[in-house]
């Protein structure tokens, strides 16, 4: 079953076309790397999938529900990490995660356990009682990821989850995301290409709002390497060098 299905998805901001008739689908349990130069339309696509922005044309379905027609059904099933981690600076990490867990519909009795679970997964257990505005950028980013993981949503939409992390933390987040494969469907955007090779099987590269490649990484590197294997970076540069 297609967990995410996107048909002719288009978004226009007045005259500017941000994304132009995108078509793709993601299977259940798959991790899709979502690549593209800055301003290619990655964030816009993710915002539409998460139900924050309406599309100008076309449709997007998550777990079989149209994001525009059935927003509540979709929102119950996704975890979303926006580009800027959505945190309340005055709250403590626990307070924040408990609040989000409540709004995600976690039963009151299970909130504490659920917060501890995502805290352990994202390595934020040690900062649980600190106020968010005093946290380092890396911790803020991880609290943002923790928030998305609350209530184990079947679909995760992560907009640059490793942004602002140091190499060790990045490796941790990568293995965390790899561990989600199978149970969760993940769309993950980044512009750190080795990252993608390490976490995803499949990539979607968009450039100026259009899909330029959507395939397994190994197929891509063969197709664009002229027989020999080339790195994803070379493929990326070749495809987006317009």
């Amino acid at each position: 079953m297609h967990m995410i299905e996107v048909n002719n998805l288009t978004k226009r901001y007045r005259d500017r076309v941000a994304i132009d008739h995108l078509n793709f689908s993601v299977e259940q349990g798959e991790i899709l790397g979502f690549l593209g130069p800055n301003g290619a339309g990655k964030t816009t696509t993710m915002k539409i999938l998460a139900g924050y922005l309406p599309a100008s044309e076309g449709s997007a379905k998550v777990a079989g529900f149209d994001v525009f027609e059935k927003p509540m059904e979709v929102k119950r099933r996704i975890g979303y990490l926006p580009e800027v981690p959505p945190l309340y600076p005055e709250m403590t990490v626990t307070g924040y995660l408990k609040y989000v867990a409540t709004l995600k519909g976690v039963p009151s009795g299970q909130i504490r356990g659920e917060v501890q679970r995502v805290g352990a997964l994202t390595g934020t257990a040690q900062v649980m009682n600190r106020v968010i505005q005093n946290l380092s950028k890396g911790f803020r980013q991880r609290v943002g990821i923790a928030q998305a993981l609350l209530n184990s949503p079947s679909v995760l939409i992560l907009d640059e989850p490793t942004e602002g992390l140091d190499p060790t933390q990045r490796a941790e987040v990568r293995s965390l995301i790899r561990g989600l494969a199978g149970k969760h469907t993940v769309i993950l955007s980044t512009h750190i290409l080795p990252e993608v090779t390490m976490t995803c099987e499949k990539v979607l590269i968009i450039h100026q709002g259009k899909i330029v490649a959507f395939d397994q990484i190994k197929n891509l590197s063969q197709a664009y390497g002229g027989g020999e294997q080339v790195s994803l970076e070379e493929v990326f540069i070749k495809l987006t060098a317009a």
């Binding site: 139900g51 924050y52 929102k75 996704i78 926006p82 600076p89 709250m91 409540t102 709004l103």
Partner: protein, 267 residues
């Protein structure tokens, strides 16, 4: 319902973890105690005059100083009403503008929370903070009732005092509803506060404008003016008109806010 209460609780806790609320509390208590002391003083002066010359020989506008309720508390409620007009925009400004600025609005719109629940939660939180602000002013009548004395039993006529206080709460709730709506339109808290103030102040003073108009415009303006609507209830006269009026204004702005939040889905 659970979501609404969770949001209201979070709003309140954020209010109390920022300096703004305390500045507002201070302004409210500071300004109203200043006027409280001033009106106690003039009350005392007029009482002394009356003792020397008897009430009959004093000008009729001094009649309100015959008792503490009309002479001090009703005057004080008038001042608190004006202070509320100035401070409520600063309390309401952050409700939505802050979320938009710090990008948490995106989170709220992608969590399984209905816009209606979000708006009601925010409004309840706002009501909480304005009630806390106004709650501080109940100290003044309590002080009078402890230290004041009157020839006819109790120093204060509590039914008048509390009815006036109810009017204040109604007025505070109205300011918050308007402020919340304006806040949902912008990312800038300052702009939200100024705009709210720019709506509240002329609306409050509408009656002055109506004085020179012809009928029926004058009656309509009088009906719409906050000031005129609050007049009776502040003096302790209860009728249905202001309740219906303020109830409708609050409902109108809460619904507008809900539409404005919902509009995000269509932007």
């Amino acid at each position: 319902m659970r979501n609404t209460l969770a949001i209201a609780r979070k709003e309140l806790s954020i209010y109390f973890s920022k300096p703004w609320a305390y500045i507002v509390f201070m302004a409210m208590v500071g300004l109203s105690s200043f006027f409280f002391v001033a009106s106690l003083q003039s009350f005392k002066q007029v009482q002394e005059l009356a003792r020397a010359f008897t009430w009959a020989r004093l000008p009729p506008e001094y009649a309100m100083f015959k008792n503490l309720t009309d002479g001090v508390v009703v005057q004080l409620w008038g001042v608190v009403r004006i202070v509320t007009l100035f401070v409520a925009p600063f309390l309401a400004m952050r409700l939505f503008a802050e979320e938009k600025r710090q990008k948490t609005f995106e989170l709220m719109m992608t969590l399984p929370v209905r816009p209606t629940e979000l708006v009601l939660g925010k409004y309840l939180g706002g009501l909480g903070i304005i009630s806390a602000t106004l709650g501080l002013t109940i100290l003044f009548p309590v002080t009078i009732s402890i230290f004041g004395r009157s020839e006819s039993g109790s120093a204060l006529e509590w039914s008048t005092v509390l009815l006036g206080y109810g009017g204040l709460l109604l007025w505070g709730a109205t300011c918050m509803a308007i402020g919340m709506f304006v806040s949902s339109l912008t990312e800038s808290q300052m702009l939200a506060a100024l705009l709210t103030f720019a709506i509240l102040l002329p609306w409050m003073l509408l009656r002055g404008l109506g004085q020179t108009a012809d009928e029926p415009v004058r009656s309509i303006i009088n009906y719409l003016s906050f000031d005129a609507q609050l007049e009776d209830i502040t003096k302790g006269v209860l009728n249905l008109k202001p309740l219906v009026f303020f109830g409708s204004v609050i409902l109108f702005f809460v619904v507008l806010t809900q539409r404005s939040v919902e509009a995000q889905r269509w932007a």
